[in-house]
Amino acid sequence: MSGAPLVADGLGKRYGRDWGLRDCTLTIPDGAIVGLTGANAAGKSTLLALATGLLAPSEGSVSVLGRDPLRDPSVLADVGFVAQGAPLYRSFSVAETIEFVRRTNSGWDDEIVPDLLTRISSRAKVGSLSEGERARLALGLVLGKRPRLVLLDEPFASLDPLAGRELLQLLMDHVAETAATVVIASHVIADIERVCDHIVLLTGGGVRLESNVEVLLDSHRLLTGPRRPLGSIRGVREIVRERHSGRQLTLLVVTDGPIVDPSWTVEPVGLEDLLLAYMAPERLPTPRTSEKVPLRWHG
């Protein structure tokens, strides 16, 4: 059976009185490398736990590779999931861990894991590995299944930049070989910007933004100009964020055509700034300041 790698429809999960995720509707395209981002507690881990059948939805539905992970857990043979912190049995040796995963997973590829772990002693206890080695081991175990969908929860959280880069290289090499779909949950946009071609931004448990990265960057512009009462601006479909300084106005906008008004300076906006603007409150209050003192806003 085929189907989009990950589809959520009105998906929600309630923890007691609070919603960890609510009204989440999205379709992850086949072969995409998705950055699942948002502030802490935005619902990223909840979404991944629902997608892997570790949690049951309170409302709505989720399907992976066209199947329901709760009712049809055999689909999970095609899904590789590394939870936050790459949890593994610390008292197992590396060899025992590999053996354990080999025996509990069908379709295991013996070639992949040894190749990934050349720098880790197979007799070492998992508990004695560095964060980078453990992350590498966990990813290797997951890729050994040759999954069609890879789900990673904050894989870079405890890694130094070099270990993080190595992890990305392993992952991207796997994608080059298998055309797998990858979802990386990360609250650090810089960590995922290098590889993502699709973004899902969660805020307050809901989907704030879901888009192809290129489409997203092409459709947003930063406008800077003298402060003025805002009417409609030709070429602007929506104002995402508005910031005033003493005499200057900065707008992050969604465009629907060229902006020709010469009183605006029009610049492209980077992914990180763009996503942060969507994460922040829609309109920041105008700072109270004398008109004589120009005030600049940073970040």
Partner: protein
């Protein structure tokens, strides 16, 4: 112009050894990314191939690194590399041969390329004279720019 802006030619005999089973061929160009440039990653790759073609560091028949080689090197999305190569193919600059790789099919080097060495040597002699006359780098750049702009027949500005 800073040399670091240019693609680094990678010699054929460097003995590049990749991971077992990935089937590397010797590559002729090494890509590098500037994440702060604001230029899309695939466009940076396209640009670096075009620059290398203009400078003649790669030529017709040379093989570009495979998608997996670039991915292993830069840790980027393989789709990005494939997109860059497709764009170069659409421009007729490279051809993809099924199962073999992507090869340079055309050149962007101007016909005057053969004169470059000679012109460069003359320019270096001129730079020595300018330095001897007490001009620093900024003054030299300013003089060159002003001369280019001041000559109506020049098409470069």
């Amino acid at each position: 112009m800073s040399a670091s802006l240019l693609p680094t030619p990678r010699r054929q005999d460097r003995g590049f050894v990749g991971r077992a089973g990935s089937g590397y061929d010797p590559a002729v160009i090494e890509f590098h990314l500037d994440p702060r440039s604001g230029v899309a990653t695939y466009l940076q790759i396209v640009q670096q191939v075009k620059d290398a073609l203009r400078l003649g560091t790669i030529g017709i028949g040379d093989q570009l690194p495979t998608v997996r080689e670039v991915v292993a090197d830069l840790a980027i999305n393989p789709n990005t590399v494939a997109k860059a190569y497709r764009e170069l193919e659409r421009d007729g600059l490279v051809v993809a041969r099924q199962g073999r790789g992507t090869f340079v099919a055309d050149t962007l080097a101007p016909p005057s390329m053969q004169h470059h060495d000679e012109l460069r040597a003359a320019l270096e002699r001129w730079l020595d004279r300018a330095e001897a006359a007490g001009l620093d780098e900024e003054s030299i750049r300013a003089l060159i720019t002003a001369t280019l702009r001041g000559t109506p027949s020049r098409r470069v500005a």
